[in-house]
Each structure stands twice: as structure tokens, then as C-alpha cells.
Symmetry: C2
Amino acid sequence: MVQEPDADRVAATRDRLVTPEEATRLAELFRLLGDPTRARLMYALLEAGELCVCDLADAVEVTDTAVSHALRLLRTAGIVASRRAGRMIYYRLADAHVRMLLDLSREHLKETG
Amino acid sequence: MVQEPDADRVAATRDRLVTPEEATRLAELFRLLGDPTRARLMYALLEAGELCVCDLADAVEVTDTAVSHALRLLRTAGIVASRRAGRMIYYRLADAHVRMLLDLSREHLKETG
DNA sequence: ACAACACCTGAAGAGCTATTCATATGTGCA
DNA sequence: TGCACATATGAATAGCTCTTCAGGTGTTGT
């Protein structure tokens, strides 16, 4: 690789581009959604609004331990929020952006097959 | 886990929910964006519109081989599209949804810190 | 206080993934 | 035709990730 077809634009792109750090954080966000179990949990919350761990385990048909592990990652990343009610802990999507993200992705899937 | 706090809503959620198959495909989409290198490639394309492999390698500061491998995954998934021009192959984001997805995610990062 | 429950956490192993190295393919130019 | 270049591909390995198992914490009801 010797040529540099459009060196100026490349330099500009590299400069204006998301920094490696920002990219890493963005990738982290996507990575968390990039697991079938976690994705299903997120869409369950999108659909139901708020669910406790046992409900989520039931809805997604996964061990409650696996759900707990998954939720910890999502919680730590600030993608979901939780609320305690007695022995149960209810989870919900953290913010509107995440909700839009999930909707938009489904759109993409619908239209691109 | 013995109780079922809201069995009806859970059942409804499980039924109306994205199917495991759909969830797997959605997760697959996110998983592809969930790697720093691929994420940076995507944002480079978002910024520049269209870039060849060597430009991308330069912008993202990764081996051209690594870029090629990464692009193959993205291409196969239909997230990016390519066009040949002489010896070079130019890549671009495949559709508007993907572009919105990338923008929205950056918003999320900006506002949630 | 004790038992049952909802949930969390740490460790461990199987499976997956990203990068690298070596090599192959296809294109343009002389 | 032959060489240089841009990109693609295959194999291999190091590193990561998800699930499970075993046990721990906090809460309710009796």
C-alpha cells in the first residue's frame, strides 16, 4: 500500500473522527447489545417498560443467574436502571436514546431483510 | 425463584417480544459495531462518506489486513457497501438507518457522559 | 430468630474473536 | 508479458466472553 488517493480528506477524516477513546466507548455500548441474551433482555424491557429479574428470566427463557450477570453489565454501563421493591428489583431502560436505538435497529432489520 | 409477580404481563411480553431469531439477528448487528476497530471504520465512513481500504487503514491506524477482515464482516452483514474503482475498492455505509444508528449512539454518549 | 425467597457474585471452563503472518487474487502500467 | 500495487483470504494463536456451579447478601413473613 503505497498510494494515498486523497491524502487531505483522509487527514481531515482522521482528525475530525471520533477519537480512539470515544470509539472504544461507543463500541462498548454496541458490544453490550451484541449478545442475544442481553439483546432480548433489552427488547423485553422496551416492550414491558419495567420487569424484575425473575420476570426477565422467564420472558427470555434463561437462567436467573445468567440474567443477573447480564444485567450487571448493562447496569454498570448505565444502559438500564434498577429500583428495589421488597425482595425484588425492577429494571428499566435508562434513557430515551437507548429506546430509540432499539427501535431504529428493528427498523433496519425490517427494511433490509 | 418461585413467585411470578405479574404473570399475565410476562406472558404477553414473551409473546409480543422479538423472537429469539430476530433477537439473534439484532444482536449480530450490534455485535459487529461492538468492536473498536470496526466502530472506528464505521464512523470514518460516516464522516468521509466513502473511503478505500488503504484510506481506512490510514484513518483508523490499523493494518490493512485487519481492515480487510473487518470490512468483510461488515460487508457480509450488509452494513457497508463497496464499489471498485481500478485497483481500489471504495466502501460506504449501506443505508440511512445505519447512519442514524451511529449518530444516535454518539448522542447517547454525549448526554450520559 | 429462622426459613424461604429474590437476587448477586466469584471462579472456572468451553467456545468464540481479533489480530497477525503468509499467500493468493485481481487490476493497471510499461 | 511482467511487475507493482490494492485488496482478499486462510490458518493459527492469544485473549476475551458467556454460561454454569457453588455459595453469598439482603428482605419478607411467621
